[in-house]
Amino acid sequence: MAQSVAGRVATDASATELASEDLEPIYRTILLARALDERCLTMQRQGRIGFYAPVMGQEAAQVACGWALNPKDWVFPSYRELGLALTRGVTPGELLNQFFGNSSDRLRGRQMPNHYGFRDRNFVVSSSPIGTQIIQAVGAALAARRRNDALVTATFFGDGATSSNDFHAGLNFGGVFRTPTIFFCQNNGWAISFPRSRQTAAKTLADKGAAYGIPGVVVDGNDVHQVFRAVREARARAVSGEGPTLIEAQVYRLGPHSTSDDPRRYRTESEVAEWKQRDSIERLKHELIDAGRWSEAQDAELLEEVRAEVATAVNRAEAVAPTDPLTILDDVFASRTPELEEQRRQLEEMLRMGLVKP
């Protein structure tokens, strides 16, 4: 399948190995994610967006995974899936509208930054409670099978989420019903201040698959080839009716948990420095250069380009009008109940009287 706007996916829809011509667009997507991430952190410090949870360090795992999926697959993300979103053809501008919660935000300003979703990209809107999407992905897989849609659902979550109720229910239902589901766990070492080593006494998170009769695989999340291969194999199993796979992508959260977090309270600089060494960007860049497909000059140019793309998107999104206050009463139900109609009239009156200022 050709790379498309609606989903930057692998050139070959069924290969288990990443084609060399995919490496450059993957690299570009990772760089774009990094540029957007850095910009958002800055904007949060400047008070221009309210909150931000960076993806830095996890881009390669997400982008390689997204690359291995099919645009028709449904993804059930957590709040840290910026790299994945880009592989679904979500643009920086669309993301920024969500971060600003402005009137172009597809979510109508309803959720915090990072909690986006785009139905037309089969990218389900994420929520904050940890893990809830995992069992939902299993339900959606059952639904897809019932409709004879040959696709998989892929759900994304962290090491902390493996302790959630929904992980337990999701993997169990997935195993029992042999759903076409990929459980993609990004073990980034930390659940805020709580280290992976304390989260569970299991040796690896992939080991948890055995409790549900599901194969578990560990991959180096900074290695796009490994990730791509594992996801493609899992996808092949899933669509052929062999059931779900649990993939543990070992990565590291290089930044803070969110802009509300100060990681110096709980981890050492040296641990971070060590993981920076393994960062996918340098690694991929050198892989491309070594293969004779890339140069430092091209790299500098690309960096300029993605930064400019982000800057333009920021300018546009920041100029968009804020959300209309009366929309607060929409979408509770398919249509407003009489009580909500009355509350809307009350709000109109309050706005008119200046009692409420958005």
Partner: protein, 325 residues
């Protein structure tokens, strides 16, 4: 039209909906070969197959969470929770996900799930087979809450719920699953969600009840006639959205209100009804608003008849309210 019990009406509504729409499916514990512990899904496995009558592992998180996922994809799942008392392992999926998906996605993801569950006391089920916690759901914006009290309403409201675009918590008064019978239409006949039903008209006192409290309330309303009190009985039928015009119209006429539910009183559903009256029918009210409810205790086993409101207690409240002021 056929004369059936309330639980049979539920069974028929499920069958009608499943026959009409192949995207309706059921999931829950023991609903397949066992036909449900109350037999609400009896025969449906045979008729519609294991793809559409899905017995699940013992996890309400799993039942409700996967129903949410199915609904996001577009199906119309109807989840059974064996007893309302066991819904709490799935509460997070209800209050954080099911009720909020449409809103938080800016309308992108409606979440069309019905959760059916037997609720309430009267079967000597003790603490965990008797509770009546409708207020939790009624307080959760984004959920509709329906409680039928007759076979016809159970049938018509369940069909409406299944084809409603919003999530519906459908509470079935298990105590009267078999003790109440009535005629039920045959085809896809729906009762509208959001409309109360006047069980009997009256001039002196308005009585509000729902679910398994409707029969004792009816008995009480009849019995006060001998004391010359004319009581109007309203079966709310849907707790959210509440039929506020019907509630106000009645109290504007009678000036007096008795509210009945079996749930604990404090912050129960009756509090909202009373608050609406204190706000919107204040100038019509001629006596304190009275609530006949369970006590503010957990639901007991040996003393369930002490806990549950009965016709005598309701009668007493009607008489006192009629005389007050």
């Amino acid at each position: 039209m056929t004369e059936v019990t309330l639980v049979q009406a539920i069974n028929r509504a499920l069958r009608t909906a499943m026959a009409a729409d192949s995207e309706v499916l059921l999931l829950g514990e023991d609903i397949g070969v066992n036909g449900g512990v109350f037999r609400a899904t009896e025969g449906l496995l045979k008729e519609f197959g294991a793809d559409r009558v899905v017995d699940t592992p013992l996890s309400e998180t799993g039942i409700i969470g996967s129903a949410v996922g199915m609904a996001l994809y577009g199906l119309k799942p109807v989840a059974e929770i064996q007893f309302l008392d066991f819904i709490y392992p799935g509460f997070d999926q209800i209050v954080s996900e099911l009720s909020k998906f449409r809103y938080r996605s800016g309308g992108q993801y409606p979440c069309h799930v019905v959760i059916r569950s037997p609720y309430g006391g009267g079967i000597r089920g003790g603490l965990y087979h008797s509770q009546s916690t409708e207020a939790y759901f009624a307080h959760t914006a984004g959920l509709k809450v329906v409680v039928p009290s007759t076979p016809a309403d159970a049938y018509g409201l369940l069909l409406s719920a299944i084809f409603d675009p919003d999530p519906v918590i459908f509470l079935e008064p298990k105590r009267i699953y078999r003790s109440v019978t009535g005629e039920v239409p045959d085809g896809d006949h729906r009762e509208p969600i959001g409309k109360a039903r006047i069980v009997r008209e009256g001039a002196d006192v308005s009585v509000f009840a729902y679910g398994a409290m409707v029969p004792p309330a009816t008995e009480a309303c009849q019995s006060v006639e001998t004391e010359g009190v004319s009581a109007e009985l309203i079966d709310l039928r849907t707790l959210v959205p509440l039929d506020v015009p019907a509630v106000l119209a009645s109290v504007e006429k009678t000036g007096r209100a008795v509210i009945v539910h079996e749930a604990a009183r404090f912050c129960g559903y009756g509090a909202e009804l009373s608050a609406i009256l204190a706000e919107k029918a204040f100038y019509s009210l001629r006596a304190p608003v009275s609530r006949v409810t369970g006590f503010d205790t957990p639901f007991p086993y040996a003393l369930e008849n002490v806990y549950l409101p009965n016709a005598a207690r309701i009668r007493q409240a009607i008489v006192e309210t009629a005389k007050a002021g």
